[in-house]
Symmetry: D2
Subunit: 140 residues, 4 copies
């Protein structure tokens, strides 16, 4: 379970001072990016090797609204793993309050967007992250 903190800005909220729904997906990318860096496989390095991981499916469920200046904890974990695709689950919390659950499914592709296998080192690193905990986030 990887955790990253993000502060909500005016740019993220709309009328009524709640985070605009699409902005959550923007935030998830930040968390994903740091998760891969922490794993030892920064997405930029993978991109430089010719492999990217576009989102092919995602879902979002909003239980309560995040507000301007909230400091959110966003947790992510690998909920499904293959050689070509993987799914991440996310929980967005303000303190102990669960605000949003989400998931993103990614396909490994070349820069020309052809499906490809992910590097073995990355697969092994992601596999370690899936062991020993039952994912609580809904899979896509």
């Amino acid at each position: 379970m990887f955790k990253h903190q993000i502060r909500i800005a005016y740019r993220d909220v709309t009328v009524g001072n709640h985070v605009y729904y699409a902005r959550y997906l923007d935030l998830l990318e930040i968390v994903r990016n740091e998760f891969f860096r922490t794993l030892g496989h920064p997405l930029l390095q993978l991109q430089e090797q010719g492999i990217i991981f576009p989102v092919v499916e995602c879902s979002l469920r909003c239980h309560a609204a995040a507000r301007y200046d909230d400091l959110l904890d966003i947790e992510t974990s690998v909920t499904n793993l293959g050689r070509v695709q993987f799914t991440l689950g996310y929980e967005v919390k303000r303190g102990d309050v669960l605000l949003v659950t989400a998931s993103t499914r990614h396909a490994a592709t070349t820069m020309e967007e052809r499906p490809t296998k992910m590097p073995t080192g990355l697969f092994e690193a992601l596999k370690k992250e899936t062991e020993g905990h039952a994912p609580s986030c809904p899979s896509v």
Copy 2:
């Protein structure tokens, strides 16, 4: 089935010239807004009456990438309707090519974000939109 065209801008795309996944949700809002206006129930007017329709759940599935300057057709229809909640399905197309399917579930709430029933006039207008066609979009 309501249809609206949107042109993709540089702001919508990222490295590799494909639309950034969260941007699709931004585009869906534009379509929704025009759909309600066409129904005779502009969302602004409903907001001025104290009723808003925040997204409580959404999903997105990307089949192929949209690119800079693409002129997309986005179709929406009501796939589920209650007095307090409704779900819209979407298909994003470039010509005949289906790029993205999506759905958004909305709850009618007061400005203080308490659930409320939608006005009868709106319910009837949405109901007409659900008649006579089987929705092809996945419900959330």
Copy 3:
């Protein structure tokens, strides 16, 4: 003077129901894109010929706030023109009310971001747009 209409969405506004300042720059791109298409030189076509026009400088002045669902008229004109750089001025209005004035200065570059001369046909088309009117927008 080229004019284009844009509808403000929830994604564009923040707490207090006014358009977030950075969003105006997003809107200006939409207008620019349509302006070049109308000139007969779509930016996509120029990009495919290896020439892009990144913003090297811009300014924004907000006189009054735009709101959710406002239908804005955005006017643009060429306020300065060289072979390698040009400046556009913008006026954002709601009906007769001037809300925002802005300008963007662009450099013609190759895809590798080296300065280059713009095609003669484009230069001539832009030149026609500068004739016969004194620009009212502040140049950058």
Copy 4:
């Protein structure tokens, strides 16, 4: 001189892997927000007291492009200070390389967007930040 680090994400960049110009303004808000917090006057707290600081003017000058996954240092300082308005200057750097200079002018207003004087405590705190250094950023 206040300094804050921000990592560039895929959401911030466009075709050609450079940061989309409007996104810099989004990033400046993050820095501003942390600057006021560090001063002991969080913008949220001021908002709760009924005072906000919308941008009334801003400018941006791009010297070189920021890229995906760049870790940028953004410095800000008070370049002009009155009881009702103030201007911040910014420098965006990647290591020692200056990428962008910018400025934002803000007006203190009530929630109803009427001009007002800022609280004395805030004025004094901002004044301290203007002393003893000549601003290098262009004022708006």
